[in-house]
């Protein structure tokens, strides 16, 4: 059809952030050639992506929430709680490793399910609900694990430390989840429904989409992902820390927004979520290599977030005119 001819190139937020990332790399390279030598090595890259795995899994789940027009603040606390409970089950309750992992994931799904029921059925605002459960879950993590559970069994820690092609298992898990998520978000009816819900929940309901059920499923999936992130992290560092997830929910939301999601819902892709995490991780790594004092990290990342989203919103408005 001829109207297709009039379609202009529309830069998505994902592509914008990607180009910004490339630009930052080029600038870094030109300004600091010596640091670049240390930055651009495979070992550094492998360590950056290894440290990203936890955030990536959280961000993938959070992206699903944001697409559906809501969010979950309890994911960081869920990750801490599930990591600690899984560790406690294998170390102190004597469960075999696979059973402990299954138990941990079941707890994760249950916590997400509980969030979902309260939000979708009881209709408590998602911010309030997950703010509450964030407190509950991090409390449970501290009760069960104290500061943390160390010296987890080798058969468990092996899982997270196995290497393949120079990258650790968690990185491969992220690649796998990212690929599946990307296909799922873009090409399945099931996930497509979340875009409708995020865009206009009332209209989605009247189009026969079961909004309540899908919201509960989304919260359950997000909880499951958060638990998985907690277990993977505990396995990699051989310690289940009670505070590993603290503040990570906001990091996940930041990454998703950078990667193209909108708090109004209806927008976002899986690769955008991963790109957002990568963007933040690369900047943090550069600051680390330049030995910038950690106090500055928050300031710089905050500026980047507001700047990136502001540019996007200005461009969008121009386009509508």
């Amino acid at each position: 059809m001829e109207p297709q001819l009039r379609r202009r190139f529309v830069p998505t937020r994902e592509i914008g952030v990607f180009l910004l990332l490339v630009l930052i790399l080029v600038v870094f390279r030109v300004l600091f050639p010596v640091s670049w030598e240390r930055f651009a090595t495979f070992d550094n890259f492998a360590s950056v992506v290894r440290n990203m795995a936890f955030e990536c899994i959280l961000a993938l789940g959070m992206m699903l929430m944001l697409i559906g027009g809501t969010f979950d603040l309890s994911v960081g606390a869920t990750a801490s709680m599930v990591g600690v409970v899984t560790g406690w089950l294998m170390k102190h309750a004597g469960w075999p490793v696979p059973a402990a992992i299954a138990g941990g994931l079941a707890l994760a799904a249950l916590s997400g399910f509980a969030n979902g029921v309260v939000v979708a059925k009881v209709r408590v605002n998602a911010l309030i609900t997950t703010l509450g459960t964030m407190g509950i879950f991090s409390g449970i993590a501290l009760l069960v694990g104290g500061p943390g559970i160390t010296f987890l069994p080798p058969s468990f820690t092996q899982l997270g430390q196995t290497q393949f092609l120079g990258l650790q298992a968690p990185v491969w898990l992220v690649i796998f989840l990212g690929a599946v998520g990307h296909y799922g978000f873009a090409h399945t009816r099931f996930f497509r429904q979340f875009y409708y819900i995020g865009s206009n929940a009332k209209a989605a309901h009247l189009s026969g989409i079961n909004v309540e059920r899908l919201q509960i499923i989304a919260f359950t999936l997000v909880g499951l992902f958060a638990g998985l992130a907690g277990i993977v992290y505990a396995s990699r560092v051989a310690t289940a820390s009670s505070t590993v997830g603290m503040g990570k929910e906001l990091g996940a939301i930041t990454a998703c927004i950078l990667g193209g999601a909108s708090l109004q819902g209806g927008r976002g892709t899986a690769w955008g979520a991963l790109l957002g995490v990568l963007f933040v991780a690369v900047i943090q790594n550069m600051l680390l290599i330049k030995q910038v004092r950690p106090e500055w990290q928050g300031i710089i990342l905050g500026l980047v977030l507001v700047f990136a989203v502001a540019i996007d919103s200005v461009l969008n408005r121009k386009q509508q005119r």
């Binding site: 090409h187 009816r189 099931f190 497509r192 409708y196 865009s199 206009n200 009247l206 026969g208």
Partner: protein, 498 residues
């Protein structure tokens, strides 16, 4: 307004339009959706700035107003087509939004606020309390608040953009009285409406726009509805009138004794003992005043409101419907009354809007996007939806085209019984006729169509039979020669509420 030009996204929406309103005159502005009426008025009200041209108001020349506030200051008041109220605030706070009477310390003087609000409201809607929360009001009442808000400005020029779309006849009459009052005070009134009866009822002169260009200005007394329609659409519009179908077709939808649950947790049940049926090939109208329970009936059938007593049969089988998903599975479709609020996904493409109610048709875990866009393109062509392609967002389509997208969604879903709530609200004359034709064609394919509309001539024109609702009940049924505005209105307002 002289030689006003405006371009949006490369499309020239106004091509040098002249427009004058005299003091004490009601000047109607007509044209199809997308003709540029609202844009022209938005320029006058300072929402948009013109690319070229000037506005002369009371002897002063402006190159366009910098903001809505500047236009207000210069003496332009507007009642927007889209409501611009703050739902959680009270009526009084809305009427004086941003202009509350305050003390020296910046504290709002509540007593004075409510007194002034009551004074303005008394002119249009004395039954609305200034303390009421706007979100709790019906759409019609909200519209009256919107009008009161504009009146409180004491403007030199008042613009009414489709003010009656949500109003009942009684409210419309009250509005007309207010307009006449403004007129006698020497205010210039601009009146935009798709309802030609209203133009002839209230206006002194009328200007027609088509595709952003001026078509003509003339005294209303010297023109006819047919002339205006010809100017607006550039072609003669056929008149449709359908009699009852000859052969008796099977009953597709049979509703018996439908009522709201008796225990609604506080609110009083609204629907009581609703019984009606619709046959294959038939268009059944559901008429009544605003608040009579027409939309509630549709929503209950569709599973979007809880159902109490009564049974619903589709194609002879009793069905139990607890959600819209159940309703769709059972063979029902519902085109909602407010396309922006509960119909369209505005930030999503035409394609995704059309497929929304029938996603399963295009696959589950392997969604067939090409097939989906093919289907959407078919509908865009068949329904003559004017858009830049199926990937365009629906937010910036005109009202008529948005309505067609919504209709396309349900034609694709292909339900046996299609309920259409306000099929042509805020839609221009040409698109209106097209929508009517589409509904008729859908019925002819052996489906049943139920039309809910506050536009009485519309219901009379397209329905084979009409059920009239009043206060949550079916007040009666009219058909054939017995169906005219008078019989319907008599049933709709028998207890003198009107």
């Amino acid at each position: 307004m002289r030689e006003i030009r405006k371009t949006f996204a490369g499309i020239e929406v106004l091509k040098g339009v002249d427009f004058t309103v005299r003091a004490g005159e009601v000047h109607a502005l007509c044209g199809e959706n997308g003709a540029g009426k609202s844009t022209l008025m938005n320029i006058l009200a300072g929402v948009h700035r013109p690319d070229a041209g000037e506005i002369v108001l009371g002897g002063r020349t402006h190159a366009g107003f910098a903001s809505a506030h500047a236009a207000q200051h210069a003496g332009v008041g507007i009642v927007f087509q889209e409501r611009s109220l703050f739902g959680p605030l009270t009526v009084a706070e809305n009427i004086f939004a941003g202009r509350q009477p305050v003390t020296r310390w910046g504290m709002v003087v509540r007593r004075q606020l409510h007194a002034s609000a009551a004074a303005v409201l008394a002119r249009v809607a004395p039954d609305i309390s200034t303390e009421a929360t706007v979100a709790d009001l019906s759409p019609a009442q909200q519209q009256m608040v919107e009008i009161a808000k504009a009146l409180s400005l004491d403007a030199k020029v008042m613009i009414f953009d489709e003010p009656t779309a949500a109003l009942t006849d009684a409210e419309t009459r009250r509005l007309f009285a207010v307009i006449r009052q403004l007129q006698s005070q020497g205010t210039g009134v601009v009146y935009i409406s798709h309802r030609l009866e209203e133009v002839f009822g209230i206006a002194d002169r009328v200007t027609v726009l088509k595709d952003g260009a001026w078509q003509g200005t003339m005294p209303v007394a010297e023109t006819t509805a047919d002339d205006l329609i010809r100017l607006m659409v550039g072609r003669d519009v056929e008149k449709f009138h359908y009699g009852a179908s000859e052969a008796v077709q099977p009953v597709l939808l049979d509703v018996r004794g439908l009522s709201d649950p008796t225990d609604t947790g506080g609110g009083k049940p609204m629907l009581q003992d609703i019984s009606f049926h619709a046959r294959a090939g038939e268009i059944v109208g559901l008429a009544g005043l605003a608040g009579a329970g027409r939309t509630e009936t549709a929503l209950t059938l569709f599973g979007a409101r809880p159902q109490g007593a009564g049974e619903i049969r589709l194609g002879g089988n009793r069905v139990s419907i607890r959600s819209p998903a159940d309703a769709i599975d059972a063979g029902l479709g519902y085109v909602s009354e407010d396309r922006k609020e509960s119909g369209l996904f505005l930030d999503m493409s035409v394609r995704r809007n059309i497929s929304a109610a029938r996603l399963a048709k295009f696959g589950g875990w392997f969604f067939r996007d090409t097939e989906e866009s093919g289907a959407a393109r078919d509908f865009v062509a068949k329904l003559r939806i004017a858009c830049r392609g199926v990937e365009q967002d629906t937010a910036h389509l005109s009202g008529g085209n948005q309505q067609k997208v919504l209709l396309a969604r349900w034609l694709l879903a292909n339900p046996r019984v299609l309920i259409v709530d306000e099929p042509t609200r805020g839609v221009d004359v040409g698109a209106k006729a097209e929508v009517h034709q589409l509904l008729r064609a859908y019925a002819r394919q052996g489906h049943a169509v139920v039309v809910i509309s506050s536009d009485l001539p519309e219901v009379l024109r397209i329905s084979d039979r009409i059920y009239v609702m009043r206060a949550g009940r079916i007040a009666g049924e009219v058909s054939g020669d017995g169906a005219n505005e008078e019989t319907v209105m008599r049933l709709a307002a028998r207890d003198g509420k009107n």
